[in-house]
């Protein structure tokens, strides 16, 4: 199958009209084109290019929080000093997505809507409490990111819906976050195991915690048992270990060319523990 229709949209309305007609959106193309080349999924018959739509651009940080347009590139996100400082887990993730080329070309909207259980940005944004705004010709809705994913490559979005933006509330004072993944090499990696941690510390106690796991379940999801192990604790080695073990226990990894389920489960505890340590260090800094 080859693409028989390709239009470049100038506005969100143009995009929504094309989507209503059955087109698929393309921005960076880093998943779509690579997937087609590798035979994973053929190119759709009809494409609408959204890269020129001004409304979908932008990285805006305010006192209330962070707003990312769907077209915000990984590079634009990880280069932003305010994101590095206050939304560190997201910056960590965007720094290590794919290669230099992928980061320059790939967008946050594409990364989220591709809904890979191994995606980098999903875990950090779930921990940060992000919401996403979806719009179709019929209207607009805002949902929690954790509710977006339903399975590998699957979301709750209807065929005519476009992800417009991602909103992240400003973290409370005393909060630190981190994203880590198991890396076989230093570049061009895909997560075999990943973990995100967000912790808020007050007077030596962990008052809030959000832990999410990557590539360990059919979707990115947070792990309440791990969070419970941390909240109210001193954030010391015993609590971190218990939280890491909770992540391993909650995981349902697969065996594939990248690693066995047993190895992934063992690494879930290690990587989650390290992510929590780093988040704590940032919270205390």
């Amino acid at each position: 199958m080859s693409v028989s229709s390709y239009v470049t949209a100038g506005s969100v309305d143009d995009v929504l009209a094309a989507l209503a007609g059955g087109a698929r959106p393309v921005a960076g193309g880093t998943d779509l084109v690579v997937g087609a080349r590798s035979g994973k999924s053929s190119l759709p018959e009809s494409l609408v290019a959204i890269h020129r739509v001004a409304e979908l651009r932008g990285v805006r940080v305010s006192a209330d929080g962070l707003r990312l347009g769907a077209l915000a590139s990984h590079e634009a996100i990880c280069e932003n000093e305010e994101i590095q400082a206050r939304y560190s887990a997201l910056a960590d993730a965007c720094t290590i997505v794919g290669s230099h080329a992928t980061r320059a070309q790939g967008t946050i909207g594409g990364n989220l809507m591709n809904a890979s259980p191994a995606m980098e940005t999903g875990g950090p944004l779930i921990c940060l409490g992000a919401t996403v705004t979806l719009r179709s010709a019929a209207g607009e809705r805002t949902i929690g990111l954790a509710d977006l994913f339903t399975g590998p490559g699957k979301t709750v979005a209807e065929p005519g819906e476009l992800l417009i933006s991602v909103d992240v509330p400003a973290p409370a004072a005393g909060t630190g976050s981190a994203y880590l993944r198991l890396e076989y090499r230093r570049q061009m990696e895909i997560a075999v195991v990943g973990a995100s941690a967000l912790v808020t510390v007050d007077g030596g106690k962990v008052t809030d915690a959000r832990i999410a796991m990557t590539a360990l379940a059919p979707t990115i999801r947070h792990v309440p048992e791990a969070e419970a192990a941390l909240i109210g604790s001193d954030g010391g080695p015993a609590a971190i270990e218990a939280a890491g073990e909770a992540v391993a226990a909650a995981s349902s990894p697969i065996s594939d060319v990248r690693g066995s389920a047993g190895y992934r489960r063992a690494m879930a505890a290690v990587i989650a523990g390290r992510a929590i340590e780093q988040a704590l260090a940032r919270a205390r800094a």
């Binding site: 076989y184 090499r185 190895y263 690494m267």
Partner: protein, 755 residues
Amino acid sequence: MTAVEEPRAAAFVRPDGKEKVTGAGRYTADLNLTGQLVAKFRYADHTHARILRIDTARARALPGVLAVVTHEDVPDVLYGGMVKDRRLFAKEKVRFEGDIVAGVAATTAEIAECAAALIEVDYEPLPAITDFEASMGEGSALVHDDWESYEADDALLRDGNRLGYSTIVKGDAAAAMASADVVVKSRFVTDPVQGVPIEPRAVIAQWQGDKVTVWTSTQVPYAARGGIAHTLQIPESNVRVIVPLLGGGFGAKCDFHFEGHVAALARAARRPVKLVFSRREEFFAVGHRREGMVIELETGARADGTLLARRGRLVLDKGAYCGEGGFFAQMAAMHALGPYKIETADIESSLNYSTNQPSSSIRAPTAPQVCWALEQHMDELAEALGMDPIDLRRHTLIEEGTVTATGQKLERIAMKETLEKAVELIGYGQELPEDEAIGVAVGWWPCFAASSGAYVKLNGDGSGTIITGAQENGTGAVMAMPKFVAEELGMQPEDFSILYQDTDAAPSDMGSCGSQTTFNSGRAVIAAAVDLREQLLDAASDKLEAARDDLELVGGAVRVKGSPEKTVTIADLAGSGTFHGKGSGEPPEGPPAEPAEGCVGRLGLESFHAPQLIAHAARVRVDRATGVVRVLQVAAAHDCGRILNRLGADGQVYGGVVMGIGQALSEGTQLDAEGRHRNAHLTDYKLVTASDAPQIDVAWIETDTPGAGPKGSKGVGEPPCVPTAGAIANAIAKVIGSRVRSLPMTPERVWDASP
């Protein structure tokens, strides 16, 4: 013996570098001919099956399809290296995932792909024979049912699925083993590995009358020409092979591959036809990868470390077809001896057919795997002896005067000196963090003497052109030839262009394989330059009215020694006649070897011609909790004879070390139960990236080895691949306190091996 510390002359930068890094260079896939069609293959639908029926009617009927070719459309001939066991298009059986049943030529890639899928093939599926160790057992089903009828080299022992069988026997190893103070036994297993050139292969064929011109990304244009002529049963003189810029090969583009298929399609379609492989095809369809192995070693030593006996049992996965890898059993056996003094030996090595992808030469074939196993085995022996592994090697490595287990007497080699230099460069014995360690490994690799020929002609403007049959595969070996010619003629390297990639232009050449380009083609080019120099001296002698012996070539001119005013420029001479030198040079004689009693499967590798000696030391960091290994530093010391182009030689070591790191830690093809690739793409076949490359320190120990190539050179291309994985393995073992016995040593395997 001298150690080269600094480049001897100003760095010589290869002339093809700029066009390659700027993207201006034109590779085969960049070429397009008028009326050109696109080729696609229909691959086997089973890894092992009998073909019952092939019906191409629906594919032929598809608009835009101009040719569909199966075994019925080409001569019924078998091709291959030491065994002729393969057809262009499968006939009775398919024997691996990438076997080609049919080819299609169509106006677009989409139509060609669609047509390939429309070909109906009925099969009787047969059980896959993926276990290459079991495939040599009694009663195993045969990959080639009637292969006794195939044409094959007499030295091969053909027995069941065993294509090659080689032994090295010296003395009574069993008795010596029984008398040893310490005996160590080890078993290792390796996964298959790919060459992974960044340029996937491409072939274009165009017929004019009964002559065909083929542009192809091959390392061996003359072998490609021979393959086309043989499979299509046409005279070799009707075939011209041209190689545009080649985007890497690493051995994977040695041998005749797809040129015959594309030429057959172009003939049937009466149009030029172009084949460009996808990355996936470049993995699974290429009959050319580094083989998986099972390696069992046993060594008995005296308490002082003296090696009394070595027993070895090696099993190599040949895959479905012989290709040019028929010599692997003996090559592997030689690496199971390694560069050591051993009093008795009993090595047996089997190269077995399976229904896996065929294996053939990838950069130093068989050596990295066997060296990785042997060097770990030697460290295990050192531990059992309570000796430092470096001291054990100091005591047991070959040196000048050693007679090897196969009876080869070694002269003027610097094996031990490379060890000392590598150990010094890495700072062996230094205090290290508890998660770091240094490992050392040594290895060897032979030179291959072969005939070659070249021309050097002078152009009217005083510039020159070198015409060589050598092929450039990215090593820069051909690119360095202007340097050698310029040195003979007192000119500058920039004065010479190179015509090197056209079988109609230059004398036949072995191609870019066996680290032989400088060794053989370089020798021929220098001989041609010397011939040209004599012609220039004759002409200048007349012109300057001076005796020939009083003349010298300096600075682009011929002048009378001691009288710089009596001079004639080469440019002036060039206009006065037709100057062209030709040469081949004499291939150096191989070393004499006393045939060891009881050895079978002798294919000429029982002595190593002018061996290249290698010692690598690696410092690694192991994350014990995850098994992730980072290589921090590699020190590489080589005796590759005289170094003619330091920049180029260093480049080979950098590349070889990085390739070796990939083979050590992350590169391995995973096969399913049917022998199909599970990771035929760059996401999950993990090459080492620039970010992973460590500090690499290079030292050259120069020797004047008998049998060396031009100006005392030996090969440099393959050796850097040999001991890198072994050095890394020994470092890992020091950190985790146990051995990783599977290659690649992935994080999961390191983690599994950790106590």
